[in-house]
Amino acid sequence: MWSFFHKLGSPPWLYSIAGTILRWLLPITLVVLVAGAVWGLLYTPPDFRQGNSYRIMYIHVPTAVVALAGYYVMAIAGAISLIWRMKMADVAMRAAAPIGAMLTFLALVTGAIWGKPTWGTWWEWDARITSMLVLFFLYLGVMVLYDAYDNKEAAGRACAVLSLVGTVNIPIIYKSVDWWYSLHQPASIKFTGESTIDSSMLYPLLLMIVAFYALYTCCLLMNMRTELLRREARTGWVRRLIVEEGKG
């Protein structure tokens, strides 16, 4: 058990295990992603009110869900690096920020594209949309703050504190549509009780959410590998790796 955690702290081991996972996970992810997208975009019935424009939810909902979950990944990695000074947690935190920012950006853009034909406006300062924008700025803030420091240890600590403070925003985004009168509708997928979305539309949506979680994991591992190479560029194992790559 403990030897696993010690190995997790070793950059060459983490680099190679991430590579092994990616070799399997990446093709599976792409297959699930294509299957979910084709199912959702082509083989589901149109909505009784919105017609075909609702189909953007097959991108919008998964990006938003994973953007929220990804924030916890970043904040927990930040907490681990603060408490145990584990360098690999710092790598994970730094690697998670740009992916989260991208997903949040996609959720905002697809939401705006859906909002125009449905609500009649691209943007409204409602609680859900505004708190989602704050999430985007939090992700950008972590990225910029990290790069603003020359001392990377201090950068990691500052970013960890920023991401921990930002966690309060996640339940606010999630519950905003229930706590306040907002333009955005409440969730259709319910953990308790019956979902208010027909099962023929729900199953491809759930598949897309799974696909985006897998995609997130792939992007995180790839980003972590890049970050590891950058940080360890002067060490022996990276040099040996490059020599081996050159031979092969």
Partner: protein, 149 residues
Amino acid sequence: MHPVRRQRLVLVVFVVLFSSAAIGLVLYALRGNINLFYPPSEVAAGLAPVGKPLRVGGMVEKGSIVRDDSSLRVSFRLTDYQSSVDVVYVGILPDLFDEDEGAVAAGKLNANGVLEATEVLAKHDENYMPPEVAEALKASGHDIKGKPI
């Protein structure tokens, strides 16, 4: 656990709890301002300011939509099934605007309590279903939430 690490753990928990409490209090203080719109019953109770820009949201009352023949002027009533607010609007309504559906109107309340809207948005609800299912529900005398009418 090593005492230094325990101390850092306590600090992390403290940062999360303290910032959550602080932001929670701010949101509690601002709760009225975070709401995007006033429900009609709050307007009827006199809680909404007259002559200032605001939004009113509710369901478009059945049979209340009156369109002007020679202009884009339209009037309708927004209701929360307790009170209702009269709305007049000159402009193009969103495609999904319809009676018995949610809408949010932005504008100013005049002295007669009528909302002179400058923008009307359709509010979509959380129900998604194929047209056949909606028709089947209607045919069997149920609303879209599956409750008998």
